[in-house]
């Protein structure tokens, strides 16, 4: 194997391993809270209130919201893993360890993004396992399910990376999750089908990227969706590529890292 390539692969493995070690070490802050939150959603919205709502999209209400809740956990955790980890090494200046070394910007970006994807998927698995205490979770289309959840985690990991590059203080890393991600997720069809909305609000909802991700994932699990899967997958691929290009450009410029 080419020496340069081997060195980059070792560096990539180092970054990913360090990221996994980080979120595993602080599991009470990273892996436990989404489990507890989602169990509360399953119990209160799914069982208690859901039993009174009845069916949605041909499924019981709890079955309908489980895929969306899994995605909500994946989105939040992949984003917050990268934004907090990358901003924290910027804040502590340990990012200089990376900048003085010969690691390429692509390796840095892929390493952090994979760290975010790993946490997103780990949380996704935890929430899925917990959901089995409430429903008989069956996967309608495994390929679509895995592809959608991985692409979603990638998109939000890259989004978290860009946020971390621009962030100057800890407030800056909580603005996007609080004021952008949470509203978009709640309005992204996690708890309802957009068929319930008037036509005008249906059209508006289609602009929300999270709606496409949640519905594509719901298709993978239940086989039903408010949108076309092909369009959703194409959108996610384009979004991943665009965010990757923007992240690399920012990383190369040294914005927020080099003077």
């Amino acid at each position: 194997m080419n020496v340069e390539l081997r060195a980059n692969l070792v560096a990539l493995g180092t970054i990913v391993l360090r990221e996994i070690r980080r979120f595993a070490r602080i599991w009470p802050q990273t892996l436990l809270p989404p489990g507890i939150t989602m169990v509360l959603y399953f119990a209160i919205f799914g069982r208690l209130i859901g039993n009174r709502i009845g069916e949605m999209g041909g499924f019981s209400y709890i079955e309908y919201i489980v895929p969306g809740l899994i995605m909500m956990a994946v989105i939040t955790n992949s984003y917050s893993n990268v934004v907090s980890s990358f901003f924290s090494i910027k804040f502590q200046r340990s990012i200089e360890e990376l900048l003085v070394s010969p690691v390429s910007p692509h390796v840095i970006l892929i390493g952090f993004a994979l760290g975010g994807v790993c946490r997103g998927l780990a949380v996704g698995v935890i929430v899925s396992v917990l959901s089995m205490f409430f429903i008989n979770l069956q996967v309608h289309h495994l390929g679509v399910t895995v592809l959608v959840v991985t692409l979603t985690a990638t998109i939000f990991s890259l989004g978290g990376f860009i946020n971390a590059i621009f962030a100057r203080n800890f407030d800056d890393i909580s603005i996007v999750p609080t004021f952008v991600l949470t509203p978009l997720t709640y309005l992204g069809g996690v708890f309802y089908s957009i068929d319930l909305l008037p036509p005008f609000w249906q059209s508006i909802s289609l602009v929300n990227p999270i709606l496409h991700m949640v519905n594509a994932f719901r298709y993978g699990i239940l086989g039903v969706s408010d949108i076309r899967i092909g369009v959703a997958l194409a959108f996610m691929l384009v979004a991943s590529a665009t965010l990757y290009a923007v992240s690399i450009r920012l990383l190369r410029s040294g914005r927020g890292m080099r003077q």
Binding site: V10, R18, Q92, S94, S101
Partner: protein, 310 residues
């Protein structure tokens, strides 16, 4: 001897318009122990920042062992180890992990990285602390950890930015010995320090930077030759009530047992001791009033200030 570091017309203007470097030329030979000195804000840290890719240069070229910063940054970084002025490691990570992770960034396989981490932690007296988070270390230990981290990929050029700042005398001297040994093994070392005694003890060549320009770049021996006069303090056996008459020397009695004498290089010390002996004055010990390099440094920086009052 080949060049370890070659800098040509290096300039840096920060976004606020401050011109930190105004066209620096600097060469450091392979195997050298080089002191880069200058007052605060002179441009030392900017120069080191550019070398270590933490600061973007505005113009000029930099190469380390022939690897150009623009054309082959990865090659340059592999040859270079940097010990920064400020602590910059993850406060929550164990120190052994910090070293192994840093080695991984250089493409060093985990098994080799662990062996090297163990070696340098033993060398720098940190092995017993290997499982502690870096925030638990004392200031001196953190400095040693940064040296270990900078050496983990076996660099050919090591740059230390004030490595002994805030370190006690005993530890400072043990760090000096460690650095001398590294230099003996063939590692080129560039040192910045505010302890000029340190530079004089360790370094063979010296560059002085001020207001973004190199104002002196020569060997330590040549530089010290420029000193025309030295001031010595003589500790005397008996007390003196009045100033002795020492022809050709300017003297001052600091207290009844301490005599300050200004000695011109051309005159030397033998004549001084002859006259003291004639007058029955016994000298117990003798020392420089200030570090020789310090005197020169101050005079060079002051003369540059008059030339460039920015």
């Amino acid at each position: 001897m080949s060049s370890a570091l070659s800098i040509r017309q290096l300039t840096k203007t920060y976004s606020n318009g401050f011109q930190a470097l105004k066209g620096i030329d600097l060469d450091v030979a392979e195997g050298d122990f080089f002191a880069l000195l200058g007052p605060n804000g002179a441009g030392k840290s900017t120069t080191i920042g550019i070398l270590s890719s933490l600061v973007n240069k505005s113009g000029g070229t930099v190469s380390v062992f022939g690897h150009d910063l623009d054309r082959d940054p990865a090659g340059l970084k592999r040859c270079l180890g940097v010990v920064p002025q400020e602590f910059n490691f993850n406060q929550f990570e164990k120190i052994f992990d910090i070293l192994v992770t840093q080695a991984g960034y250089y493409g060093i396989l985990p098994k080799v990285a662990r062996e090297r981490a163990e070696y340098y932690l033993h060398q720098l007296g940190l092995w017993d602390k290997r499982d502690e988070a870096s925030r638990m270390l004392s200031g001196g230990m953190k400095r040693r950890l940064m040296i270990a981290r900078a050496l983990i990929h076996h660099p050919r050029l090591l740059i230390l930015d004030e490595p002994t700042a805030g370190v006690d005398i005993e530890l400072r001297r043990s760090m000096w010995n460690f650095l001398i040994e590294l230099n003996r093994q063939g590692i080129t070392i560039i040192l910045t320090t505010h302890y000029l005694e340190e530079a004089e003890q360790l370094c063979r060549n010296i560059g002085i930077i001020d207001h973004g320009r190199i104002v002196e770049n020569t060997s330590m021996r040549e530089l010290l030759k420029q000193l025309h006069e030295e001031v010595f303090l003589l500790d005397l056996q008996q007390s003196l009530r009045s100033l002795p008459d020492l022809r050709g020397y300017r003297t001052q009695l600091l207290d009844d047992h301490t005599l300050e004498v200004q000695v011109e290089k051309s005159r030397g010390m033998n004549e001084l001791f002859r006259q003291l002996a004639e007058q029955g004055i016994e000298v117990l010990s003798l020392r420089n009033k200030t570090n020789r390099l310090e005197e020169l440094f101050v005079s060079l920086v002051e003369s540059n200030l008059h030339k460039d009052p920015e």
